[in-house]
């Protein structure tokens, strides 16, 4: 049952990314282009997602077990430190360069976009690089 929900969650999430426009880098860059012709659409993606998510996370907060009976894997980290901010800044710079963040890049490459697949390979290399240097920065 858990395998099925994981698959379904991925499927619904991917459909949402496509329908919202997140899988189209030109759309994403149009949103990030505050000082040009700004396309505000993606603010509504965030708004729609959080409007639903806020209810679910309020319900989830007090649960000791998931509905399917597994453990709750909620983040415990609360510290706002240099690695959080520097990591987010590096990520944002890459996002603004190509217009892809991880989820949409995966969906676009699954749809057969070669350029998205190239991005995904580089992204995996970046994740691998982090795994190599992790102990030295942590």
């Amino acid at each position: 049952m858990q395998r099925l929900t994981e698959f379904l969650v991925g499927l619904i999430f991917g459909l949402g990314l496509i329908l919202s426009g997140m899988t189209d880098p030109s759309k994403v860059l149009g949103f990030l282009d505050l000082f040009g012709a700004w396309d505000p659409s993606l603010a509504l993606v965030m708004g729609g997602a959080i409007a639903v998510g806020a209810f679910a996370f309020a319900l989830a907060r007090d649960r000791t077990q998931s509905v399917l009976g597994g453990a709750m894997h909620l983040p415990r980290a609360t510290q706002i430190d240099k690695r959080l901010v520097v990591g987010a800044l590096i990520f944002g710079a890459g996002w603004g360069l190509a217009g892809f963040c991880p989820g949409p890049a995966l969906v676009a490459s699954a749809s057969g976009e070669i350029k998205a697949a190239i991005f995904v390979v580089a992204m995996l290399a970046g994740m691998g690089l982090y795994a190599l240097v992790e102990r030295r920065i942590a």
Partner: protein, 146 residues
């Protein structure tokens, strides 16, 4: 700033956002998990025993989504991403996104959607940081060195 009304898609973007929210809601309530793509993917690089299958099931669902979309979408709604970045930009951007999301413990889905939904101050700081860097990167590439 001027608004690009020609490309503004409020309803599709709102509906897509609601679907993303439904996915995140289902994940945390049914399975107790955070829908964070960079964490789910990154955790596969060195998976602990028994910690890989759920990640793969989720990623397979994501990979199947374009095909379901093609079946469901009405004519004229084809998924047709426009990717202007060249090869070098794609590689540099991919490296930055991969490294940065792991260092900062999350991306648009984990920090932006789930973290803000949980009212996490940590995710708010991360989201403001990556948005600011995204705005800055586009400003530099489109208006400074255009």
């Amino acid at each position: 700033m001027s608004i690009d009304w020609a490309n503004f898609t409020p309803w599709a973007s709102l509906a897509g956002g609601v679907l993303i929210g439904v996915a995140a809601a289902l994940f945390v309530l049914a399975n107790g998990r955070i829908l964070g793509v960079s964490g789910i993917l990154g955790g596969l690089l060195r998976p602990a025993a028994g910690d890989a299958v759920w990640r793969i099931a989720f990623l397979l669902g994501m990979a199947a989504s374009p095909f379901l979309y093609m079946v469901l979408a009405p004519a004229g709604w084809a998924m047709a991403p426009t990717i202007d970045a060249g090869l070098v930009t794609l590689i540099v951007a991919g490296l930055l996104v991969g490294f940065g999301t792991r260092l900062g413990s999350g991306c648009t889905s984990g920090h932006g959607v789930c973290g803000l939904s949980r009212l996490s101050p940590r995710s708010l700081v991360a989201t403001l940081s990556f948005m600011a860097a995204g705005f800055a990167a586009v400003f530099v590439t489109r208006h400074v060195f255009a």
